[in-house]
């Protein structure tokens, strides 16, 4: 067990550094917007009225707290540790993403900016943003790579039904990274009227800190719930990691509990070969991308490499800087699941527990499937069921049933 003393509440520092990671590597054209946002967030965080409004909406509009569900049949089937699912999939809009989107729209209200932009990969963050924009009467533009628009067509339609404009991005490999670039460009151009709701614990300060804070409620609830159920802390936490917001939300309240092991699961795609995966801790390197210093996938000349994952939400070249920090000091661990392993776990949870998970979440489940049988029956695992799989039905039907569903 790690002997390093950690103090999660002290991180990041005032300029967004988690050890040597993070920070704000941004052009001067965005600096004022980031500084304004940081100041507004610090104020809001300390304002009981803001926290009360957020808590009320999380309860009545979003549906918190979410259950911590004991997956009895899956536990029996795997024959090892007792598996608990933190049911973020039951939230309004179908994933954890709404925790952050709601927090940030309340912040946009305080900033007095009437227009919202966001990037989205799988579409879950885009849907959550379009939802809160509708709820609070903001204009909303969502940037989405054209490849992702095809594989997540259902979510594109949801965003449009909610009144958002979805702008397809055709640059590069037309997935999440390019959508972030376009959103940043929009923000630089319209910064006086627009707030950018970044969807993961990524990018420049204050986003990694702020997004983590809004998702921390996942771990706070899970910690209380598992103590009620088991009367002791879990042995293992598992979550999928794209940017890393659902994972950090679950992990953060447990970081000082030295006996709790934490594993983040990245997208192994077709396997760990260049351009075929999105597992930054496997074959990645330290670098600077989209405002933050972190682990990323780049070639020998520092050009960002292509990534691949069956799940659009994990298909991104950099990992959130706070994950890079806890990885560095050995507090958290990272592994990966391939497309095939994720699809396999997707089918298992659907057919054994009657819960269709998001393909992103299925990567975490794939690791649970491997590790649970190696653990004792008296041990427990909490896995973040970060999203539901309705959006993935067409893709999963193609891969698992050989059926084409025209949407």
């Amino acid at each position: 067990m790690s002997t390093i003393t950690i103090n999660p509440a002290a991180l990041p520092d005032a300029r967004g550094h988690f050890g040597t990671f993070g920070g704000a590597f941004i052009p001067e054209t965005l600096m004022t917007a980031f500084e304004e946002l940081t100041a507004a967030y610090e104020q809001a965080k300390a304002d009981p009225a803001f926290q009360a409004e957020l808590a009320g909406l999380l309860k009545d509009y979003v549906g918190r707290p979410t259950p911590l569900y004991f997956a009895e049949r899956w536990t029996e089937r795997l024959g090892g540790a007792r598996i608990y699912l933190k049911r973020e999939d039951l939230l309004h809009t179908g994933a954890h993403k709404i925790n952050n989107a709601l927090g940030q729209i309340l912040l946009a209200k305080r900033l007095g900016k009437p227009r919202i932009i966001a990037e989205t990969g799988a579409g879950q963050h885009g849907v959550a943003t379009a939802t809160v924009a509708a709820r609070f009467g903001f204009d909303c533009v969502i940037y989405m790579g054209e490849v992702d628009m095809q594989r997540q067509a259902l979510n594109v339609a949801r965003m449009r039904l909610l009144g958002a404009e979805v702008r397809g991005v055709t640059a590069g490999q037309r997935t999440l990274k390019e959508a972030v670039n376009e959103a940043l460009r929009d923000w630089v151009t319209n910064v006086r009227t627009t707030h950018y709701i970044l969807g993961s614990a990524l990018g420049a300060h204050p986003f990694p800190m702020m997004v983590r804070d809004f998702h921390r409620i996942i771990g706070v609830e899970a910690r209380r719930q598992i103590l009620e159920r088991e009367e002791r802390l879990p042995d293992l936490l598992v979550a999928c990691v794209g940017g890393g917001s659902n994972a950090m939300g679950l992990f953060h309240p447990f970081l000082e509990d030295a006996g709790v092991r934490m594993v983040g699961v990245e997208a192994g795609g077709h396997g760990i070969k260049r351009g075929e995966h999105a597992a930054r801790f496997q074959g990645g390197k330290l670098g600077v991308l989209q405002g933050t210093k972190t682990w990323l996938l780049a070639d020998a000349d520092g050009q960002i490499e292509l990534t691949h994952s069956v799940s659009a939400g994990l298909d991104y070249a950099a990992v959130g800087p706070e994950h890079a920090y806890y990885h560095e000091i050995g507090r958290t661990e990272y592994t990966y699941a391939t497309d095939d392993e994720a699809l396999d776990a997707f089918r298992d949870l659907s057919q054994i527990e009657g819960i269709i998970p998001a393909l992103e979440t299925a990567h975490a489940l794939a690791y649970v499937k491997k590790v649970a049988p190696t653990m004792g029956r008296d041990q427990t695992i909490v896995v973040n069921l970060s999203g539901r799989g309705d959006k993935d039905v067409a893709q999963a039907a193609r891969f698992l049933l050989g059926e084409e569903i025209k949407f």
């Binding site: 920070g23 704000a24 590597f25 600096m31 670039n181 940043l184 460009r185 210093k293 780049a298 050009q303």
Partner: protein, 270 residues
């Protein structure tokens, strides 16, 4: 003396403003970039900004992003750009500023890059995504060199921050005249006069204006007010259109020479 400083000293004595041209190194290939820079010196361009191509240029518009894509496709690397500068230096003393994003430089090795860039004959660096705060916070990113670190000031930069950027500015200050990414605009910013005089209250180095300048009359209007004018996308767009044409350099002169001329005439008349 650093070539940037020497050039502005000379221009000041002549009552002139600088014409700064931006092109992406390696677009369409490094050999073409060499010939373009060689020609630009003859056309009266005062300073050349060479973009080091990056896959994810978040401060740039479509025109410059596509130029970077072409340059990367042609196999341009950081080492290749440094070689290009060495080759230019064998025959030219035109001031050269490298326009970079962090990741390729960081991957190359930050201090190794600074050393080799200086030795190759680079005069200044513009690191789009390295604000002074991060340079202060990361020991490995501090500059132990006499390369000029060119700083940007934006329309949204508040006065106290202008003061602190200007206090440590080297070479020249690059004022971004319009909110947004690089690219052409049809008009010039209306508050340019007041912003320039604000910056000049704090600046100890010349102030050049760029982002969105494409037409000779815009360049002239800015040259009449500022110490220099930067044109990028309008030139890059021409290079994209001409591509591998054997006439690339000659035809490019039709875009660049009127811009240089407008800069000269405007400055001479004030």
């Amino acid at each position: 003396m650093n070539r940037i400083d020497a050039t502005f000293n000379r221009l000041r004595e002549e009552g002139q403003s600088a014409f700064v041209a931006y092109i992406c190194a390696g677009d369409p290939d490094l050999d073409a970039t060499f010939r373009i820079v060689e020609a630009m010196e003859g056309w009266g361009v005062d300073i050349v900004e060479l973009g080091v191509p990056f896959s994810d240029p978040m401060a740039d518009g479509t025109v410059n992003q596509q130029a970077a894509e072409r340059a990367l496709h042609a196999g341009t690397t950081v080492a290749g750009v440094l070689d290009l500068v060495r080759r230019i230096r064998r025959q030219s003393q035109i001031p050269i500023v490298l326009y970079n994003y962090m990741n390729p430089i960081y991957t190359y090795g930050f201090s190794r890059f600074l050393l080799e860039a200086r030795e190759a004959g680079v005069d200044g660096l513009l690191l789009l995504d390295l604000p002074p705060e991060e340079q202060d916070a990361n020991e490995e990113l501090r500059a132990a060199t006499d390369l000029r670190f060119i700083r940007l000031i934006a329309p949204t930069t508040p006065e106290p921050r202008i003061a602190s950027i200007a206090a440590r500015a080297e070479g020249f200050i690059y004022y971004v005249s319009r909110e947004g990414v690089t690219g052409e605009r049809s008009d010039i910013a209306t508050d340019l006069d007041s912003r320039l005089s604000l910056i000049r209250r704090f600046a100890k180095v010349p102030v050049v204006v760029g982002f969105g300048v494409s037409k000779p009359e815009q360049a002239g209007a800015i040259a009449a007010k500022a110490d220099g004018v930067v044109v990028g996308s309008a030139i890059v767009r021409q290079i994209a259109a001409l591509g591998a044409s054997p006439d690339l350099v000659r035809k490019l002169s039709e875009t660049v020479c009127p811009l240089v001329q407008a800069t000269r005439e405007a400055a001479a008349s004030h």
